[in-house]
């Protein structure tokens, strides 16, 4: 970009100013103490320089008052750092509910990103200005880390698990995307750009050259291709639980525990179906490990998610004998 010799990164997300303000506080404290120590050393070294080889300075053993003072004061300042840092951390870690979902699959050495609407990108991410974006990420191989310095966000991307991060861009522009966790030979080549666009430009970009349908539509196609619908009947009379309205609800398991059917649970249920079986059902589902890619899993998740809100679909009636509870209100029907 324009600046050939930047000394400070631009602030391009809502959390960036929060992080920078905390930085300024820390810089202030640090500069104060650095100057204090350096000048004390210089001053003492000159004032009390040795004037004769036989001189003996007065004996000073210490001062408990001073020790307490220079323990308590730094500790107090440090506790401010801790509390402030934790507050900013919560801001960074907690995505707002209305965030736009983007799915990220990392592999040596590229970023593959899928938008809900179906657009796929490699090493590039287009997002609208002023809209929170939540990334759900997984890796196909080693640990990577999704890092956009100008947004001040970073999150490791782990194999076999979902991690999330979010940001709300505040400036139109083009920003570096780096992999920040060393991932092998071409680690420094695993970079890309995040494009923040005016909302109307973003809409135009979305509608241009999408093709192939939305993520949920692809998920539905995959659902049929893999013959999931042979067992998972929407009316709940199949050999497997209905998936209608499952996403986000509490699920009762055979071992008596309940789990929330989130991204991680759905993913596990596809790849290791027998790990957490829904109460009232047999563990007859085969594993789809190796049959469906991580991107495919994400499409299936998006499809299952859509089953909750899809208009015209069968109402989320209480399943005949399942342990699936609707998120709220419907729970009574279960018992």
């Amino acid at each position: 970009m324009g600046n050939r010799f930047p000394l400070f990164p631009v602030e391009a997300s809502t959390v960036a100013p929060s992080v920078d303000h905390l930085l300024f506080y820390l810089l202030g404290v640090s500069i104060f103490f650095t100057v204090l120590i350096f000048s004390a050393i210089f001053y003492f070294a000159i004032k009390y320089r040795r004037r004769s080889e036989t001189e003996l300075p007065p004996e000073i053993h210490g001062s408990t008052k001073l020790e307490i003072a220079w323990s308590i004061i730094p500790f107090g300042l440090a506790m401010v750092m801790f509390a402030w840092g934790a507050k900013v951390y919560f801001e960074i870690e907690r995505p707002p509910d209305d965030a736009l979902d983007v799915y990220v699959v990392a592999k040596q050495w590229m970023w593959k990103l899928q938008h809900k609407e179906g657009q796929r990108e490699i090493n590039e991410l287009h997002i609208p200005l002023g809209r929170a974006v939540k990334l759900t990420m997984t890796s196909l191989d080693v640990i990577h880390s999704f890092y956009v310095p100008d947004f001040r966000t970073k999150q490791d991307v782990l194999p076999g698990r979902y991690t999330t991060t979010w940001f709300k861009p505040t400036r139109v522009g083009k920003y570096h995307l780096f992999c920040a966790e060393y991932c092998g030979t071409k680690h420094s080549g695993m970079i890309g750009w995040v494009y923040v666009m005016e909302p109307q430009d973003y809409q135009a970009w979305l509608s241009g050259g999408a093709g192939g349908g939305s993520l949920a539509e692809n998920g539905q196609k995959l659902f049929q291709e893999l013959a999931c619908d042979n067992c998972h009947h929407m009316d709940g009379h199949g050999r497997c639980p209905s998936l209608q309205g499952v996403y986000g609800s509490k699920v009762l398991l055979t071992n008596g525990q309940t789990v929330v059917a989130d991204d991680a649970y759905v993913r596990e249920s596809i790849l290791q179906p027998n790990a957490k079986v829904v109460s009232g059902y047999q563990s007859i589902m085969p594993t789809f490990q190796g049959l469906v890619t991580e991107e495919g899993v994400l499409q299936l998740i998006e499809y299952i998610k859509s089953l909750k809100t899809q208009p015209g679909a069968a109402p989320a009636a209480a399943p005949a004998r399942g342990g699936v509870q609707p998120p709220a209100g419907g729970a009574a029907a279960q018992r």
Binding site: L26, R50, E55, E59, G62, F82, V142, F178, G184
Partner: protein
């Protein structure tokens, strides 16, 4: 004439001759010199790799080496500098030489074990170097799984084996030091008369003994995973790659204190001697070492703030990390306060001590940035971290090591180094260091990730500054190497106590006899009792 007089008196260097008398020695002083030679070689090698890294980073695009080679370079730089240089540096050389003398003992409690420790370091080093010559390793010194356990095609096992073996060297040294401090003190040498260098080495030994075995078993599991695919760190089998990070940092964060605590001990000695004053708040400085050793075991999770560990775990580890700041601050303030109303001389070791206090302060303060959760998310795994730990490890430990080497060189060799050159080298090291690593803080906050072979062009100016600083630093390190060697033959003969220092090591001759003292010492004074020293000098 004078040389002849020196030759006449028997001391540990001329007590026996020949290679065998060195390779089978049980004398802690000779073993310290064996370590000194060994780790100097490792330092030179690690420095060579650092030089190649810095030259490569002069331009944003690859020119000197390929990405594959670059990754091996920074891995070997880290592995050699951390496990084969910094961890043994001060304890195994200066500690080995002076800890027994300072407490008035004839030797460490287990001299043969001490020699074995050196052989283990050599064996571990050879194993690691063997892996390097066979083709190298590219996992980074942190060996993060599953890259190290499954994906890397380099010599991970051989390198890990080398670290495993070197780890036992560290464990046995720690064990030897602890037993020695507990059981070998001279009559009258109570715990609160111990020089602070002994306290800090004792605290270091505690970490070596408690932490290193965890590293050993972690490395063992990585090796098993690579050889037999047992699944411990493999998500495909239900394993958790992040478990490795927890186990690794359980050792490797305390290991940071293994590296810096002995340096703090050296600086305590230097500040006292060259201010001619007892260290301000002796008890607080002594206990702060132990506090750092203990607290150091509770903060490993601050390396995992963006690894996907829970938000609450992050908060706990951030909170605990700030507790370590307190004993570190206590030390800095007490050293500075020791100068107050002192009799300060500017001999080379003191210049290094000044440098240490300044750079450690900066390194420590930037550690507060990394412990602050909100900032760490942005700067972790960037050059900010790289700059921070080099301020501690190079600005701190290495400055202290060089300061200690100058301070005790007359005692170890019986020769004085050339003071003028030495002062110049201290200045060059300080300036070169800051020019190398200060720009990296700026780079880090700008978002330059660590371990990048190629980088965006806008970062180039700062990288060029850093490389320029590194070349100054290299000159600063070469100078002592040259004039120390020169002094062995041409240096002025050293008196028993050239600095007017307290401490038992200055009461025996330079160099000391094989069993350290002509007659067993009895301690009647507090540590750093300069009044008594001057009195004795006048009476004597």
């Amino acid at each position: 004439m004078i040389t002849a007089a020196l030759e006449e008196r028997e001391h540990y260097l001329n007590a026996s001759y020949g290679l065998k008398s060195w390779l089978l020695t049980k004398d802690h002083k000779r073993i310290a010199l064996l370590y000194l030679g060994t780790i100097t070689l490792f330092f030179a090698l690690g420095g060579l790799f650092a030089t190649m890294i810095r030259i490569e980073l002069l331009t944003p695009q690859p020119d000197l080496v390929s990405s594959e080679t670059y990754n091996k370079l920074f891995t070997m730089h880290g592995v050699i500098m951390v496990f084969l240089f910094l961890v043994p540096s001060i304890p195994a050389t200066l500690g080995n030489f002076f800890l027994p003398i300072m407490i008035g003992a004839k030797d460490l409690a287990f001299p043969k074990l001490n020699l074995l420790s050196w052989y283990l370091l050599v064996a571990g080093g050879l194993c690691t170097l063997g892996a390097m010559f066979a083709g190298g390793v590219d996992t980074g010194w942190t060996f993060y799984t599953p890259y190290s356990s499954t994906y890397s095609n380099t010599y991970v096992i051989a390198t890990a084996l080398g670290i495993f073996i070197a780890g036992f060297s560290s464990i046995l040294t720690g064990l030897n030091f602890i037993v020695t401090v507990h059981r070998m003190r001279a009559p009258g040498m109570t715990w609160f008369r111990l020089p602070l260098f002994v306290w800090s080495n004792y605290a270091t030994s505690l970490i070596m003994v408690l932490g290193t075995p965890v590293l050993a078993v972690t490395i063992l599991l990585v090796g098993c995973e690579r050889l037999f695919h047992i699944g411990i760190f493999d998500p495909a089998l239900g394993g958790d790659p992040v478990l490795f990070q927890h186990m690794f940092w359980f050792y490797s964060h305390p290991a940071v204190y293994i590296m810096v605590l002995p340096g703090m001990g050296v600086v305590s000695e230097l500040v006292a001697t060259f201010s001619r004053k007892r260290v301000f708040g002796y008890g607080f400085v002594a206990f702060s070492s132990v506090a750092i050793a203990v607290l150091g075991f509770l903060v490993w999770g601050h390396h995992l703030f963006v690894s996907g560990q829970s938000v609450y775990a992050g908060m706990v580890f951030s909170f605990l990390s700030y507790f370590v700041a307190v004993p570190s601050a206590i030390k800095v303030f007490n050293w500075t306060a020791t100068l107050y109303k002192g009799s300060i001389s500017y001999d080379t070791p003191m210049l290094y001590a000044f440098g240490f206090i300044g750079l450690f302060t900066m390194g420590g303060l930037t550690g507060l940035f990394l412990a602050a959760l909100g900032i760490d998310v942005h700067v972790t795994d960037t050059y900010f971290v790289v700059a921070h730990f080099h301020y501690i490890m190079v600005g701190g430990t290495l400055m202290a090591y060089l300061g200690g080497m100058h301070y005790w060189w007359p005692k170890m060799t019986g020769r004085m180094y050339p003071e003028g050159w030495a002062k110049l080298s201290a200045l060059v090291v300080f300036l070169g260091f800051n020019l190398t690593f200060f720009p990296q803080f700026v780079l880090g906050y700008l978002g330059m990730p660590r371990r990048y072979h190629v980088y965006p062009p806008e970062f180039q100016v700062l990288h060029v500054m850093s490389t320029a600083g590194a070349s100054v630093l290299a000159v600063g390190y070469l100078m002592p190497l040259v004039y120390f060697l020169w002094s062995l033959r041409y240096g002025k003969l050293a008196p028993a106590n050239p600095w007017g220092a307290t401490g038992l090591e200055w009461q025996t001759s330079s160099p000391p006899p094989t069993h350290n003292f002509e007659e067993p010492p009895v301690v009647t004074h507090e540590a750093y009792d300069f009044a008594a020293l001057l009195e004795e000098a006048q009476v004597g």
